[in-house]
Each structure stands twice: as C-alpha cells, then as structure tokens.
C-alpha cells in the first residue's frame, strides 16, 4: 500500500462544536498551529505552519473536549477536501496530548 501518514505536533487554534453525521458518527473540524525546528540542506531553522484537520468517531469525540491552546500530536493521513477541491486536509485517526 502506498504510504500516506502524517504525524505532527502543534497547538489547537480552535475547533468547531462536535457534530454528528446523519449516520450518527461524531465529527470535528479543527485547526492546528505547528512550530518546530527542522534541518534542511544541513541547516537547522525554525518552521511554522497552520493546517486544517478533520476527525471522525472516537478521536473527534475526545478532541472536542480539548481546549483551544492545548498542545497535541495528531496522527493520520491526507485526503483532498472534496470532490471539487483537491487540496489536502489532515484526517486524524489518533492523537496524544503533549
């Protein structure tokens, strides 16, 4: 199977209120601010970005209880946002509070 794994730490900027899909599955949209130091071409430098993430099921339910500002590690994969929007979004399958 082709690789598609994302593991990234960051601060929860905000998340929406927990919703449910019509099928009854909890679903949550959140935004993560990442900051770290990375080495590129042998030179270390600070890195910063924000990204959109989406969770379903158990991680959605639990992340909904995490306050904005908390530091988390998100683990998941990338998928395009929608049929007409091929830009990726992180789907969270696991997370850790750090």
């Amino acid at each position: 199977m082709a690789h598609n794994r994302v593991e990234i730490d960051g601060r929860v900027v905000y998340h929406d209120a927990l919703r449910h899909t019509p099928g009854g599955l909890p679903s949550l949209q959140l935004r993560l601010a990442h900051a770290s130091e990375q080495t590129e071409a042998g030179r270390p430098r600070p890195v910063e970005c924000e990204l959109e993430a989406q969770a379903f099921g158990k991680p959605a339910q639990e992340l909904a209880g995490v306050p904005a500002g908390a530091q988390v590690r998100l683990i998941g994969f990338l998928e395009r946002k929608g049929v007409r929007d091929r830009w990726p979004i992180v789907h969270v399958t696991e997370y850790e509070l750090i």
């Binding site: 449910h20 899909t21 019509p22 099928g23 009854g24 599955l25 679903s27 989406q54 379903f56 099921g57 998928e79 395009r80 946002k81 929608g82 049929v83």
Partner: protein, 725 residues
C-alpha cells in the same frame, strides 16, 4: 326454453371486464334501474347496480343466475347520475362497472344491505320537555339527558347508554341527527365591492340554462362572497348547490363560513377524510334530496342531487381535481359536463386559472368575469421583489435581503412565512469525498434526509422506504457524509439559530399528518402564537392570516428546469397563491423571491401580478409546441419487473394503433420521467391529436384491443388528459 315471466337485468359490477352482466329477477320494474343488487359472481357475492332491463339475454338460459336481492330501501340512482357515470367511463376509457361502483360511498359497496346506524343523536322537543322531569334514581336516563342537553352528540359517546337510548328512540324523545341544523344565527352578508356587484349583476342577469363562467379574481378579491350570493339565489329557487374545493382547501373553517351564512339550510360536506358512516349519511341526504348545499372534494362531483341548480368549482386550476388512479377523471371537466347536461350554471373560480380554462374563456366557450382588486378596503396586492442570489448569495438557503426582512418583521411583531417546497431536512445525503448522493434502492430517485427521533432517517418520497443513514459512503467508504441542500426542517433549524427569540412553526405534510394537527396550527397562527412559519405548498392555499405581511420564497427556480411542460404554469400558480397570503387585511404585504433568474418573464409577470400576460405568453409557447390546450392527449402507462417488458407491451400497443384516424399521433414508447418506482420499471406512450373527438374515436377500440392482450405481471393504464408525467 325461454322464460317469459322473468325479467333479465343488466348489472354493472366492479370487475375489470368492460361489460355488463345479465341476471334473472322475478319482479324487476323499470324503476329498479339505478338500484343496488346483490348477485352471485363465481363463488363470491358482489354488489352491483342495475343499469337496464331487457326481455331476454344472449346468455343461455341455463347459465343465467338469479339476483339475490334488490335494495329497495334506498332510492335508485337518478338517471342523470347514471348518465354522468356512463360519460365518465366512456371519456376516460374505463369500464362502466367499476366507474359506477366508484360513485357509491364505501359503505354501500359492502354486501350487507342493512341501513346504517345514525352517527349522532339529538333531543326532540318532546325529549327536551321530558328531560326536565327525570326521576333522581333513573341515573342512566339522567346521564343521557345531561349529555344531550348541549346539542347533538356522536353515537360513539353514547355507547354505555344503549338501553335508555333505544327506549327514548322508541318513545320519540331522541332522533337521529345527521349533522343538521345547528343553532347558528345567520351571519349578515358583507357589503359588496363595486367589482363584486358588477360580477354578480352579470351572473344573476344571465339567462337560465347552461353557462360556464370563469371567475378570475386575484387573491383576496372575495370570490367566495360571489359564490355565497349565487348559492343564496339558487336556494331561494328551491334548488341545490354543489360546491367543489380542493382537498386541502376544504377546511372546517370554510364549512363553518357556509353554515353561518345559511344556518337553516341542510349543508353536507363530502370528502375522503370522513368516516364511512358520516360519508354515507351525507350521501343519502343528497340522494334523498334533503341536502341544500354540498361542499365537497373531487369525489363529490358525482353526488346524486335531484334538485341541482348550481355548480361552483373553487380553485379550479388545482391539480387535486384530477383523480390519479382507477377512473382518472378531472372533477372540473366532469362538473362542466354535468352542468351542461343538467342545463344549469357552473362557475369556475381561480386567481390563476388552468391554461386550458383560460383558453376556453378566450374562445368564448366559457364567459369570463374578473375581479382585479382586493375586497378588503385597505388591502392592496403585495409588493413582489426578486432577490438575485448570484450577487446576494444565500447562506443556508437564506439571502441577506430575506434575513433582514425577517428581522424587521419580527421587530414589528408581524408574521412571516418562508416558503420552500421541499419537506424533510435536506434533499440528499452527499459524500464530500466522491460526490455520491443517497439513492433509493427501489426507485430512480434520491433518498431525502429527515430528522427522526433525535437523529436522522433516509426516506424515499416515492416508495416510502425508510432507512438509517449509513456511517460510511457505500461507494468510497468516506465518513464525510453531509446533508446537502435545504428542506423545511433544516430551514426551521437555521431560522431558530438566527432568531432565537422567534416562535417558529413548520407546516408540511409531515407535521400535518395527524388528524386535527392542521386545525391546531391554523389556530396557533391566527392567535399570533407564531412569528415565522416555514412551510411547503400546504400553507399556500386559500388561508387568511391577517397578521402575515412577509413571504420569502426559496428554491423556486427548480421548477423552471423541469421537463414537464406544465411546470411553469404550476410554479406561477403556486407563487401567486403563496404570495397572496401576504397582507390580506390592513397591513401591506411583501413577497421576496430568491432566484438566479431575476429577469425570467415568469417572475416579471408575477411581480406585476399579471396573470393574463403570463397566460398569453405561455399559451403562445404551447401553441407552437402543439401542447394542450392546442392538442388533446392521452398517456398509456405501463409498469413491469423489467423495462424491456414494459417497452415490449407499449411496442405492441403502438403496433395495434397502426390504423388510426388521420390527425391522431402516436409517439414512440419511452421510459417514464421517473423510470423506476418500488422496483417496477415504468414506460409510457403518448397519444395526441388536435381533435378531441378523433382522439376519442381512436382510443375506444384501441383500449378494447389492449384489454385482449395477455401480459403476465405487467400493469397498464390509460390516462385521458393526463396532468402529470
């Protein structure tokens, strides 16, 4: 050996065979024509109606069976009604037996010829005197007296008191009550406007005999008052009046209005919501000539009325006048035919007449009368504004302009209506990842999302199948499934979020399914316990809500894209009706229509309240396309387990119609617009002609030939003057 002493009667039976059945009877009289009979049929016993007497039968004597019983308790169906049934059966290409039996109330189609128990009882004057002097210890009698003291009481409330009731009936202290004379005081008639006076003067001044009138009156112009005055004159002449109204329009309030105006007249209301007992009682009042006014839905058009003097068809454009199964009659057209046959006046009323009717008025087949202004002195027609949703984008279905208007109305304490002709939460469940939408497994249709017990449900509006929404997309497995689009439930939620203090009421088929629910809602609205109404077309028809001053229309554009050539006519009528709810009394009304086509001529005519311009333009299009009313149509529908089967039958039908009168056009069979419903594949064949008589001349032998076809599990039906595809 032929029997000479016995007569043969021809009996119409509710069987699919297009023929009458001969039976022997010892003592038949010509006056028995139109009476019910019980007859043996195979191993069963059926109820039929005698349609004729003959001296001898073509059936061999030994095969002729005898009538079991003739029902002579009931009056025979009058000749006029028998003729009406025959006309309907011939014209709509349906066997006479089932057509005739369909006219009878359900209770009379059962084999037992027992007279029905009355549904209510009332005290006689003797009874009222007696009640004052009932001994203290006669507790049952005292209870009965107490119950009856307030007026007629339904039989079901007297079940524990059968013995004293029977006793009182025998002594003449109580009598059966068929919903007769309530103790109402005649309500004075309102003063007529000048326009109403002119219309009435024309109507009343016309010669006796058959005339068909089209009363074209804008919403709120007081058409009903014109009907009431006409009825008044009809009753004064000792005649009966038949008033037809669409199902949804025939409310207890409308019945009350008629009762208040004619409190000492016998008014019967006939519709499918009645219990069999009430329906029978009302029908018998008509048959026996006791009823003065009959207020009913389409089925009432066939009611036997020996003194009929006037027929009124209110909201004559309404599609509910067309019966969609069995005898597929159009009650308005049958009413006109009946009026001509009885040589009486028929009045068709509407703010947006059917284009067929408008064309008939323009060709002077019907005489046109117009009421162009609202009757209420201060009421003017609402201002109609189009909101361009290409610039004012609708978020969750509601544009900024509409949100603002709703807020203003709330602040002024006036009522608003948001009209969206889609019930449920959202039209589809949509997979964001792959774009798949929820399909009904049994129909060629989407499943609609409904809120259901705190969660959601997928429901097919065609076959009724309901299921739990899936957790994952059946096509791609994605979990990101979302409701897409707007339904009444979702708009209700959105409005509740936007205006937390507003009292919001949703009115659609789901909320009005329970008996009495609709009446309760009307009261809540009239009592101003509601600020914003969200509703489908169910609220659009004929209700007066004086506090309602704003109507917002969302999702109307869809009908502009429909493949059905009548869609724009229907949309115009619907929007005119819904807009007509606004500002019917002192307060001015506003109508905001959200559209991406603000320059569409349909909307322009609507904004100008200009039905005639819309009608003329649409009629020109119809003429170019040779669509009705410039041609006459019949639609042969077939459904089977497979499309191939359905199409094969229609191909055969097409072949059988090879020889046909000139000017009758048979189109090729095609799959229906809705090609599958509940796992039945559907196809259709359109027959069209500019000449109604030539179309009829073709249909009769053709349908007879179709009936000869063996077709296994295939079902077919013919619809003359079809309204829906």
């Amino acid at each position: 050996m032929k029997s000479t002493l016995r007569t043969v009667v021809q009996v119409a039976l509710d069987t699919p065979l297009d023929r009458l059945f001969d039976y022997l009877v010892a003592d038949a009289l010509t006056s028995d024509v139109g009476r019910r009979v019980r007859v043996p049929f195979g191993k069963r016993e059926l109820v039929g109606v005698i349609v004729g007497l003959v001296d001898s039968s073509t059936v061999p004597d030994e095969q002729l069976r005898a009538v079991i019983e003739i029902d002579r308790q009931l009056a025979a169906l009058p000749r006029e009604v028998m003729q009406l049934a025959r006309f309907a059966a011939d014209y709509y290409q349906y066997p006479l037996g089932p057509a005739l039996l369909a006219l009878l109330p359900p209770a009379l189609k059962r084999a037992k010829f027992r007279p029905q128990a009355p549904t209510a009882y009332a005290l006689t004057p003797a009874g009222q005197a007696y009640c004052a002097a009932i001994p203290v210890r006669a507790t049952a009698q005292r209870r009965l007296a107490e119950l009856l003291a307030g007026g007629p009481v339904a039989a079901e409330h007297l079940t524990g008191l059968r013995a004293p009731l029977r006793d009182w009936l025998n002594k003449g202290l109580v009598m059966a009550d068929h919903g007769s004379a309530s103790r109402l005081v005649t309500e004075p008639a309102p003063t007529l406007t000048e326009a109403q006076q002119n219309v009435l003067a024309t109507l009343l001044g016309a010669a006796d005999g058959f005339t068909a009138w089209l009363l074209h009156g804008v919403t709120g112009s007081g058409k009903t008052e014109v009907y009431l005055r006409l009825i008044e004159r009809t009753l004064a002449a000792g005649k009966q009046a038949l008033v037809l109204a669409p199902e949804i329009h025939l409310t207890p309030q409308m019945v009350e209005r008629f009762k208040r105006r004619f409190p000492d007249r016998k008014l019967v209301s006939l519709h499918s919501g009645l219990s069999d007992g009430d329906r029978l009682a009302g029908w018998l009042d008509c048959l026996d000539g006791r009823a003065d006014i009959v207020l009913g839905t389409r089925l009432a058009v066939f009611t036997p009325l020996p003194r009929l003097g006037l027929i009124v068809v209110d909201e004559e454009h309404d599609a509910s006048y067309k019966q969609m199964e069995g005898l597929r009659y159009h009650a308005r057209d049958v009413a006109v035919w009946r009026a001509r046959q009885s040589n009486i006046t028929v009045v068709l009323g509407s703010a947006t007449p059917a284009l067929e009717t408008w064309a008939n008025a323009k060709r002077h087949r019907y005489r046109l009368l117009s009421l162009t202004e609202r009757a209420h002195a201060q009421a003017s027609l609402p201002e109609v504004r189009l909101i361009d949703t290409r610039t004012d984008k609708a978020a969750l279905g509601l544009s900024d302009a509409l949100r603002k208007a709703l807020l203003e109305n709330l602040e002024r304490g006036e009522q608003s209506l948001v009209f969206i002709n889609r019930r449920g939460y959202a039209p589809v469940l949509y997979c964001r990842a792959c774009g798949q939408v929820s399909e009904c497994p049994r129909c060629a249709a989407h499943q609609v999302i409904h809120r259901h017990r705190g969660g959601y449900q997928l429901r097919c509006h065609h076959c009724g199948l309901a299921s739990r929404p899936p957790e994952a997309c059946p096509a791609c497995g994605s979990l990101d499934l979302r409701p897409a689009g707007q339904g009444t439930q979702k708009v209700e939620d959105t409005l509740a979020d936007l205006f937390p203090a507003a009292r919001i009421l949703r009115v659609d088929r789901d909320t009005t399914a329970r008996r009495g629910a609709f009446a309760a809602m009307r009261e809540a609205i009239a009592g101003h316990e509601v600020d914003i109404l969200v509703g489908t077309q169910i609220v659009a028809k004929g209700h007066d809500f004086p506090m309602l001053t704003l109507v917002g229309v969302i999702g109307a554009d869809q009908a502009l894209m429909s493949a059905d050539f009548r869609a724009s006519e229907r949309l115009f009528a619907q929007l005119m009706q819904v807009g007509g709810r606004a500002g019917r009394a002192e307060r001015a009304g506003r109508v905001l229509i959200q559209t991406e086509y603000p320059h569409h001529p349909l909307y322009a005519a609507l904004a100008a309240h200009d039905y005639p311009t819309f009608a003329e333009r649409t009629l020109r299009e119809r003429k170019l396309a040779e669509f009705p009313p410039y041609s006459h149509q019949a639609l042969l529908r077939a459904d089977a387990r497979s499309m191939a089967e359905a199409m094969a039958f229609l191909e055969t039908a097409h072949e059988l119609g090879r020889e046909r009168p000139e000017g009758v056009l048979l189109y090729d069979p095609v799959p229906a617009l809705m090609p599958r419903i509940a796992n039945r594949e559907r196809a259709q064949l359109l027959i069209q002609s500019v000449s109604r008589s030539r179309l009829q001349a073709f249909l009769t032998p053709w349908v007879a030939a179709l009936r000869e076809q063996k077709n296994g599990g295939l079902r077919w039906s013919l619809d003359v003057d079809p309204l829906d595809w």
